[in-house]
Amino acid sequence: MPRATFRITRGSGESAAFKDYTTDVSEGMVVLDAVHQVQAESAPDLACRWNCKAGKCGSCSAEINGKPRLMCMTRLSDLDLSMRVIIEPLRAFPHVKDLVTDVSWNYRVKQRIRPFKPRKPDAPDGTWRMQQSDVDRVQEFRKCIECFLCQDVCHVLRDHHKHEEFAGPRHFVYAAALEMHPLDVEDRVGDLRGKDGIGYCNITKCCTKVCPEHITITDNAIIPLKERVVDEFYDPLTRLFRIFRPRKPEAGS
């Protein structure tokens, strides 16, 4: 049976260091299988977060050979096993231990985004009417599994540590799902420009490249939101037209 070596981050904080583990690999294995095998054979105290093993819970996010990926969706057959496979924790969040990071910052940011606020019901029985084609656009954003790989790869968080001023691609996807919903009447554009710091995004598209759900984050969420910010704050002509035709109806109207 072929063997492969995995170079895994061990320890916590500044004392963390790589340690090599060699184990048997077989057809069909993914990186998470290999990590579990290492746990079983030689490192029972190796900490890693996982849950569904099907690419739907977003728990096993890590950096494999330097690329943010889900361990459960990365096949060993796609990696060059003649070289050591490097497995590291996410770099944009505080390191807890081994492959585990504290991603709770994301939940605090999400709570800050203005929630869904529907217009007044269309029918007396309290229901709404909308066209499927109008709501189709936001369905893509609902595929997000909150693995935070997009947050990890975003250089604004990863390299510039702008966690206090920048919400990150995951939350722009969330904001886009609400902001572009045909029933929603809340206005989040000011927040996006201000406390969410969408202007920090310089459209590297790294978030789109790493998304395991293949959400077109940059083209379908961030850039359309940037254009709405331009409408609101940077385009004098659009602002002039808005005086006569508001973008969204008032809540309850």
Binding site: G13, E14, E63, N65, G66, K67, P68, I86, R91, A92, F93, P94, H95, W105, R108, V109, R112, M130, Q131, S133, D134, V153, H155, R158, D159, H160, H161, K162, H163, E164, E165, A167, H181, D184, K195, G197, G199, Y200, C201, N202, I203, T204, K205, C206, K209, V210, T218, D219, I223, P224, K226, E227, R228, V229, V230, D231, Y234, D235, R247, K248
Partner: protein, 277 residues
């Protein structure tokens, strides 16, 4: 935002990464490609000659010089002068100088190119998950402050760029008509140059009308389009083009330069135009 207490990993220096693939290949290719294009465009724009070919009755105008506001008598100029009266005498004049700022601004502020040249020229970041120059750190300002906040003016470059596409399409149409040998009127014809100019207009149209701000302007800025069928159709078409915006951007960039090269070589007599019809 309650993130000030985050204990984050140490930053990596410029180019530091655990990536094992050739991450430098794409930004390197972009750096070379854009540098070569800028160098050639600047050289071609400063030449002020060999931009209009009328040999064999043809009517081929280089896209770098279209619309030709000022030019020689035999050229399809807009104004009856070789150069504007206000042009400083000490500064060499070329008609391309007056118009290239429009398409250049469109490309410079384009969402695709922004991401590409921030990586290739600024190293911001050099590639995904690759370390940046350490001096930026928390001083990074993105597109929030001057000068990069001006990127928000992209749509104001889109409007003239869209007009340029119409003008270039008209140039391609004019390239379908060849002056008769006896000078009495013109006749329909297709030369290789006609196809080159037509492809140029099509590719630039695919790039310009598939841009993100066009997508926003035709309908992306609205939450409902089912009540506006024309806008919905436009939005669908622009979105279709937009999916391959990067490909349109590069193919149109290369082709517009090749179009100028073709016209320039014809004018210089290096090659001859093959008349197909």
């Amino acid at each position: 935002m309650s993130g000030s207490d985050l204990q984050l990993p140490q930053l990596r220096g410029m180019g530091k990464t655990s990536r094992t693939d050739a991450w430098w290949l794409q930004p390197g290719a972009i750096l070379l490609g854009l540098t070569a294009f800028i160098a050639y465009t600047t050289w071609a724009a400063l030449q002020g000659q060999n931009y209009f070919y009328d040999g064999g009755g043809a009517h081929y105008l280089s896209p770098f010089y279209s619309p030709l506001l000022f030019g020689q008598e035999n050229e399809p100029r807009v104004f009856a002068a070789t150069h504007p009266s206000w042009w400083p005498g000490w500064l060499p004049f070329s008609p391309a100088m007056l118009i290239l700022v429009g398409p250049a601004g469109m490309r410079f502020t384009c969402y695709y190119y922004r991401g590409a040249y921030y990586k290739a020229f600024w190293g911001d970041p050099p590639a995904c998950a690759v370390g940046e120059p350490g001096f930026r750190g928390k001083r990074y300002r993105g597109e929030r402050k001057f000068p990069l906040v001006m990127q928000n003016a992209h749509r104001y470059f889109f409007y003239p760029a869209a007009a340029f596409v119409v003008i270039l399409a008209f140039d391609a149409f004019k390239a379908l008509w060849f002056t008769r040998a006896d000078g009495a009127g013109s006749e329909f014809g297709i030369g290789v140059g006609t196809i080159v100019l037509a492809l140029n207009a099509i590719l630039l149209g695919g790039y310009t009308f598939g841009c993100h701000c066009a997508r926003h302007l035709v309908g992306g800025g609205r939450d409902t389009l089912s009540d506006a069928p024309v806008r919905k159709s436009c939005y669908t078409c622009v979105s279709w083009l937009n999916r391959k915006h990067m490909a349109w951007a590069w193919v149109s960039l290369v082709w517009v330069a090749l179009t100028d090269v073709y016209v320039r070589l014809l004018c210089a007599g290096v090659i001859t135009d093959l008349r197909i019809v």
